[in-house]
Point group: C2
Amino acid sequence: MAILEKIRSRAARSAMGSVRLGIGDDCALIGPKTGEELAVTTDLSIAGRHFRLDWHPPESVGHRALARGLSDLAAMGARPVAAFLSLGLPRRLTVASARRPAWVERFLDGLLALAAASKTPLAGGDLAESPLAVADIVLVGAVPRGRALLRSGARPGDLLYVTGALGGAAAGLAELAKRRPGSPRIPKKLEAVLAPHLYPQPRIAQGLWLVRHKLASAALDLSDGLSTDLAHLCAESGVAAEVDSALLPVHPGATLAQALNGGEDYELLFTAPATAHLPRSIAGVPITRIGRITPARAGHPAVTLLGTRGSKPLAPHGWEHFS
Amino acid sequence: MAILEKIRSRAARSAMGSVRLGIGDDCALIGPKTGEELAVTTDLSIAGRHFRLDWHPPESVGHRALARGLSDLAAMGARPVAAFLSLGLPRRLTVASARRPAWVERFLDGLLALAAASKTPLAGGDLAESPLAVADIVLVGAVPRGRALLRSGARPGDLLYVTGALGGAAAGLAELAKRRPGSPRIPKKLEAVLAPHLYPQPRIAQGLWLVRHKLASAALDLSDGLSTDLAHLCAESGVAAEVDSALLPVHPGATLAQALNGGEDYELLFTAPATAHLPRSIAGVPITRIGRITPARAGHPAVTLLGTRGSKPLAPHGWEHFS
């Protein structure tokens, strides 16, 4: 109950935008603008599966929980309207010690910092004691009616693009896994290497830009890894795809395998007609053409990887979290 | 993944209403009608806390998870638009045996039956393996702009009403607790006693009626118990309240203490000006006046219980689940 009041008071400090009623009633109330559709997504984060209490700083767990939801909004080209947080926590994570604030306070620090940066008010949620730490984040966004970026709009001949660089989150996670469990602090020199994993940046501005300029035919966010997510896009669009490995924007320090299969980069993967003129960067983030959409052929793999020594099927080898 | 496809195919069979895009993309899309606000609520259900795998039939766990969210919509006077389900389950609950379907299938049976009865399409969610069974349910509803029933609108002189009967869920839970753990089947003769606990009926129609007739000044749903929830209403409205114990519609088989403090009845508690004419029942459910709203007085209890032998403070003794 004390935590609830704390969350309510911290959340109340932010601008509410389209949220007409926030935490404190049976529901929050959201007033969409005329001509808008609402995009809704939920993402469950479970200790030991999506994060590890002995690996991840609490601020990162809060940031990543919200980033997953914001990235789903970005993939639809929606502007964030409100976030909701259902939190189940063991009591020990809610208690401050003499030396440091409670885990949940630092979790909220991370979550609310990203909420402020992305202008996303925390409008409600639920709270319960739980033997296992779980956080379900719900994002509500808004997009002009009929203009959302879907997974199902890619057509043969379209070109395939990604924002930013790939594999950085997997490379960061590999580095994180090498540390001694329970190490209290991330050393300065590791911060840059770990940042793509600990503090991924959802591509909200890039998604909004794509909707505004009506250039993308399909989009999704890279949460499970390129090989898995591109297979999803192909399945929903009823197409196949070729990826040119020489074109991939591999993150510095990451391997090609991490760029292809590492999850949680939260970059956007999108398609656009070959006639569309895409800029080299959108809102400061590079845009890279990595391949093209082809017709689906029965009995053939959905995704083909073109390399210097010919082509081969790219099977989904996506992110399986910590299982 | 197999479960996800199963949920998707089962959810796709229902009418989608205002849901323009359901399960399968990064977000669901909802198209509100002009002049509508959206109500959003999330409710976390955790094994061992909100339900017990060895006590509750899986159908009841699914029903109750959705009922909690629908009841929050009812308390705002909102019509259901979409539900989202984030589900974390141990693998054993997803596996069918030769003799019976998987726990998750029966959980979905219960959830989707109530979803169909309340015309609430399941529009999305998330799925993960988890050592602990957790289900976060998100409900999105719609209500005419500015007309939602809030907790904050009660004024001194207003009369206090409840729908249905109180204490039935607590009485049912007490009966459930007497059974041998792991008893496979609820005997026929116990079904009626257990029903208010296992299969509570959210008061959607009654909430919609109150909004349509503009009679209620404030409302909430009785999830934590009358003594606790009425204290919430008083706090949000800045008022106090008197409850007349002789007027309470105690559920047959329940005690006065269960009616006052037992949670999860999911009846509506609402206030209306003394000049308002409330019917004896709304959509087949009795409406009972149980007390009145009084001015808040510093140093005095928020809620007073009037009995045959005078009055006494009614302290919040709400539902603490299974803790």
